[in-house]
Subunit: 122 residues, 2 copies
DNA sequence: TTGACACATTCTGATATCGGAATATGATTG
DNA sequence: CAATCATATTCCGATATCAGAATGTGTCAA
């Protein structure tokens, strides 16, 4: 077997830089394929293909208007990833907490120590 | 060209379900390769190979102890992804703000209705 | 209807990736 | 040193994936 199919897997869909670029191009709101092509530096077929993948994993949706096609982000899929990585948020806070401790001790000398709320730097 | 190398790309590293499983197995703290093998249902060579990828993108670090090797998460890379997906948080909040309001009210029981920040209706 | 435009799909070849099996490395113990 | 345990690496075949070029589809306008 090779790598799991990109279709139906949001994590794989996001793994491609070009697709992230497309999503970023859509941050401002709806956009036409042509507009996206201009925004990211890719050929039209490439963009269409990447849009197809993004469509299949439900990261974007489209709306036809005449001969154009407006794409927009459907952010729920991104939320899944955000939540998954969020599981580890405690671990990157850990480091900052230790740094906080060091800083606290340095502080403790001359100045009245400011109270630090522990964790959740977000 | 085929897909961008999994090495040196955190997004690609995370795209593989097995590697996510390994990371999840490390959530509790340091773990030995053998322990990870037991936790996720994979062969030892598979786990070692996935750990190698994770090491190369700096998502894990290892510490040798005798003939064993303790792996731990280096969460900074995950933070990159968390932040990137966070760029789109506004787009899923749009939908959820209303739900948040409802839940808040339920928490608080039958109480004076909270004033709403002007609704983001779609 | 014909042509032009916007976009989608299909083909191709090159390459990366995966799982599995076998094997190699490196440390510990007898 | 030899055997063993824990882990890493290598080789293999199958397959997914990418970019690029060519072509297909559908809509509008003259």
């Amino acid at each position: 077997m090779a790598r799991a199919s990109t279709t139906s897997d949001v994590f794989n869909a996001i793994a491609e830089p070009a697709r992230r670029a497309v999503l970023e191009a859509l941050r401002g709101g709806e956009a036409t394929v042509g507009t996206i092509v201009d925004a990211v530096a890719l050929t039209q077929p490439q963009v269409s293909k990447h849009l197809k993948v993004l469509r299949e994993v439900r990261l974007v949706a489209s709306r036809p208007v005449g001969k154009e096609r407006f794409y927009r982000i459907d952010a729920d899929g991104l939320r899944v990833i955000h939540d998954w990585t969020g599981m580890f948020a405690a671990m990157w806070n850990q480091r900052l907490d230790r740094l906080d401790d060091v800083l606290s001790e340095l502080d403790r000398g001359p100045l009245p120590t400011k109270k630090r709320t522990k964790g959740n730097h977000r």
